[in-house]
């Protein structure tokens, strides 16, 4: 079983985000980065499947030099080797189509049985890269995956639907699965793993290696303006008998505030 995990490095959760001067994205200076949360769960799932069924886990990530920190973390946790798409040309790929195209090109000859990605990244949150990779490589796909059972020639997965509903589907392999956060318990990188990661293969891939040019990766989507959500305060008093108030409050919390 050859499993490839797509990782994205994103600003750390506790970062103080400021809008960049051009108002197109955040100001990336002074920000620390980490592996996107759902991708960390995808990696964990891949490692568990490898431990159960044998095989190899490859991680792939696209991004500048700093991305290596997250790639090394994946190697320290147990991935066998890594591919780093590191080239200024890849910076063109700011939308899901470009990212998906570049990653699919890099994985074309790998012959992966499974490709796992996080459901969506913590920064852009497109939720599309996995599906675009599947389309480009002619693989089947399943999204919002909660559980993975590997079978011969197929994989049975539990998908999360809305309102607490789930669906079990059988997907023929090779397949792309987009993994939901929280489906397993993340492991720590052990010191042994951290030190042995240095000896693992980390292959750097340039756009030219994939016969891709800046034009090929030109975004089809762009961000017009980034801004901080505007807050507004509104107070509503619910009148009536306590039981009525409670019922109305529950309704408001469920359907308006959507807190449960």
């Amino acid at each position: 079983m050859k499993i490839c995990v797509c990782l994205k490095q994103v600003p750390k959760k506790d970062s103080i985000l400021r809008i960049a001067q051009d108002q197109k994205w955040i100001d990336e200076r002074d920000i620390s980065y980490e592996m996107s949360e759902a991708d960390a769960y995808a990696l964990e799932e891949a490692l568990r499947q490898k431990e159960a069924h044998g095989g190899e886990v490859i991680v792939i990530s696209m991004g500048p030099e700093r991305t290596r920190q997250s790639i090394k973390e994946a190697l320290a946790k147990g991935a066998d080797r890594a591919i780093h798409l590191d080239d200024p040309i890849f910076e063109q790929a700011t939308d899901a189509a470009g990212i998906g195209r570049a990653i699919a090109a890099a994985l074309k000859d790998e012959g992966c049985d499974l490709i796992m990605t996080g459901l969506q990244s913590d920064d852009h949150g497109f939720g599309q890269v996995g599906l675009i990779i599947a389309e480009r490589l002619g693989m089947s796909s399943a999204t919002i995956v909660m559980e993975v059972q590997i079978e011969t020639g197929s994989v049975r997965v539990k998908r999360e639907l809305e309102s607490g509903w789930f669906q079990w589907v059988r997907v023929p392999t090779p397949a792309v699965l987009t993994i939901q956060s929280g489906i397993n318990q993340l492991r720590y990188a052990t010191l042994k793993g951290i030190m042995s990661a240095k000896k693992k293969e980390l292959r750097e891939v340039k756009a030219a290696d994939l016969n891709l040019t800046a034009d090929d990766l030109k975004p089809l989507q762009s961000i017009e303006r980034a801004y901080v959500p505007e807050k507004s305060k509104q107070t509503e008093f619910i009148e009536g008998k306590p039981a009525e108030i409670a019922a109305r409050l529950v309704e408001k919390l469920r359907f308006d505030a959507r807190v449960f």
């Binding site: 506790d14 103080i16 200076r29 002074d30 290596r68 920190q69 090394k72 973390e73 320290a76 720590y188 990188a189 052990t190 010191l191 042994k192 951290i194 030190m195 990661a197 240095k198």
Partner: protein, 594 residues
């Protein structure tokens, strides 16, 4: 691990006083390798997810749980960073060990248990054990199958450790040493399996022994009722004709002091690093509280006096971090020139930085005291309540100024070591003092400021070094071999040295940062360095006056004070505005952010 030290020049311990170090010489947190960062991350995540959620249980002295947590940390390799690979460890550098200690200090009691186990409980065997002892104990200490402890102190001998009364006598058959005595304040004693015990063979040869809890005659007294660190075990260990096999003598008979004192250097460094981590954490807690606590209709973080406290905690956290990483970087560079597999060489390398280790212990524990105290103040009445975290932090922090050598003992070490090494010719203090005399007698010429972000601070630093050289040189001349009796003067000199080390470390790291990121991206760090340097000059002047007035009088004192005035010329910076800026940035970030 890629060694930071390659190609760096080795800087002698204590040389910061007499030489000018440059930014390229200093190691900073920004220089950590990816591996160090990942070790830090593992330690941090482990603490956040496994230890902090069990805080209440740990504080209730659930030692079974503490052992279990130590075992889990061992599985990840966090207990064996300093243990050579050959004996089941990771055999990594001191930086890795400190990065891990920093990130595992979130629960103070557990951090105490962990430190006692990995540092003073394990390192004596790493550095002084023979092959059999290492094979027997280290792999099991690495996994916490065995928990270690260190038993040096007795009721009558704390700081004066060599006055220990515990006796060791060889049995008639020559197979055992019979130990009799009582050791006090032993961290981990309640559940430890292996104790490094110090006793005097035949009543005079101070020697270390590896003592197992199960050896006949070994017993552990009930838990002490302590002011803080309630979740760490502290008991007396009784040795009633305890039978210790002769093969458990650690190191050489009569050379126990080498073990006792050298291991403490590393202990001091680790205490320093966990204190600094505590300062940064408490700064965040105070910032969070000040942001949401309203008085007079506004958050208290908008008041100048609260801003002062929040900023000062952060400034001290930043400066101490500069000092710590610089110190460890110097030790690592020295270690790169020796055979790391020879523990004695390694220890000797560490020993030569005893001055810096003591500085880190004193400074770290005292800024932690300041921070816990002011955190309580920021919390106001709530800070005095057990329902808020700062009340406990205040009590937990108090011991840091006492153990691993009291701050008084460490202050005597700092200036005492400079004087001792100078009289041995290892440091050029006396020549520098002589040169300075010539300068003092010549007329004062206006000095040109150098260029750069810290022009005034750099000039002040050079002058403060002269003050320290003059004070120490005068003390050596006046008191000669009786200088150790002048504790107050030595302490004043040490305070000057600590301030100088802090000022220089902050200047060097910040200059290095500015060179790589540009001034605009280092606003807080530049401001923090300026405020610290400004205050340091004032403290140094006050300490120097105390020392000079104690050492001289009349015309001599007047001449010295005139020179002091010349060396402390400094246009005060607007620390009020700078602290406010730093505080505003902390409040915006909601945490320590330097």
């Amino acid at each position: 691990m890629t060694s930071y030290a390659e190609g760096k020049r080795v800087l002698q311990g204590g040389s910061f006083l007499l030489e000018d170090h440059v930014p390229e010489d200093v190691f900073t947190p920004e220089d950590l390798t990816d591996e160090h960062k990942m070790i830090g991350q593992t330690a941090h995540e482990f603490t956040e997810k496994e230890i902090l959620p069990l805080d209440a249980e740990i504080e209730a002295k659930d030692y079974k749980l503490t052992r279990e947590l130590l075992r889990k940390a061992g599985e990840l390799g966090l207990l064996s960073i300093d243990i050579p690979e050959k004996y089941g460890g990771a055999g990594l550098d001191l930086l890795a060990s400190l990065v891990s200690a920093e990130n595992m200090s979130g629960q103070a009691s557990f951090s105490g248990s962990l430190g006692a186990h990995t540092t003073i409980g394990t390192l004596p065997i790493v550095y002084f054990g023979n092959e059999e002892q290492k094979k027997k104990y280290l792999p099991r200490l690495a996994t916490a199958e065995l928990v270690g402890a260190y038993a040096l102190t007795e009721s009558g001998s704390g700081s004066d450790a060599l006055a220990a009364k515990t006796k060791a006598v060889l049995s008639e058959d020559g197979k055992h040493y019979i130990l009799t005595g009582q050791k006090m304040w032993i961290t981990n004693a309640g559940f430890a399996d292996v104790f490094i015990v110090f006793a005097k063979v035949d009543g005079d040869k101070f020697t270390a022994f590896i003592v197992e809890r199960t050896f006949p005659g070994v017993s552990v007294a009930p838990e002490e009722h302590k002011m803080g660190l309630h979740g760490s075990s502290t008991c007396a260990v009784n040795l009633e004709e305890a039978r210790i096999p002769v093969e458990n003598v650690l190191g050489e008979i009569g050379k126990g002091h080498q073990i006792a004192f050298n291991i403490l250097n590393i202990g001091r460094l680790k205490l320093g690093v966990s204190s600094i981590a505590g300062v940064k954490r408490l700064n965040t807690i105070a910032v969070e509280y000040a942001r949401q606590r309203n008085q007079f209709g506004v958050p208290i973080s908008s008041f100048g006096l609260i801003k002062h406290k929040l900023a000062q905690m952060a400034i001290l956290g930043y400066v101490s971090e500069c000092m710590m990483y610089r110190t460890v970087g110097m030790i690592e560079t020295a270690m790169a020139t020796i055979d790391r597999d020879d523990p004695r060489q390694a220890l000797k390398a560490i020993e030569s930085y005893a001055i810096e280790c003591s500085i880190m212990k004193v400074f770290g524990s005292e800024i932690l005291a300041y921070t816990t105290d002011e955190a309580v103040q920021v919390f106001g009445g709530n800070g005095y309540s057990k329902d808020y975290p700062v009340e406990r932090a205040y009590r937990d922090a108090r011991i840091a100024r006492i153990y691993e050598g009291t701050n008084e003992i460490n202050r005597l070490i700092i200036s005492g070591q400079i004087l001792r090494r100078s009289s041995k010719g290892e440091l050029g203090l006396f020549q520098a003092a002589k040169n300075l005399m010539g300068e003092m007698l010549s007329p004062s010429m206006p000095e040109d400021l150098s260029d750069g972000v810290f022009a005034q601070e750099r000039q002040a630093l050079a002058n403060c070094k002269k003050i320290a050289i003059a004070a120490l040189g005068s003390a050596a001349q006046k008191y000669r071999d009786k200088v150790q009796d002048q504790q107050e003067v030595l302490a004043a000199a040490s305070n000057i040295l600590i301030s100088i080390y802090g000022m220089e470390s902050a200047i060097l790291r910040t200059e290095k940062l500015v060179a790589s990121r540009g001034e605009a991206a280092c606003r807080n760090q530049i401001d923090a360095t300026r405020v610290f340097a400004n205050d340091a000059v004032q403290h140094i002047e006050a300490e120097a006056k105390t020392a000079l007035a104690a050492m001289s009088e009349g015309d001599e004192l007047r001449m010295m004070l005139a020179t002091l005035r010349r060396f402390t010329k400094f246009i005060p910076v607007n620390t009020v505005a700078l602290r406010r800026q730093i505080a505003d940035s902390l409040v915006e970030a909601g945490r320590y952010n330097l």
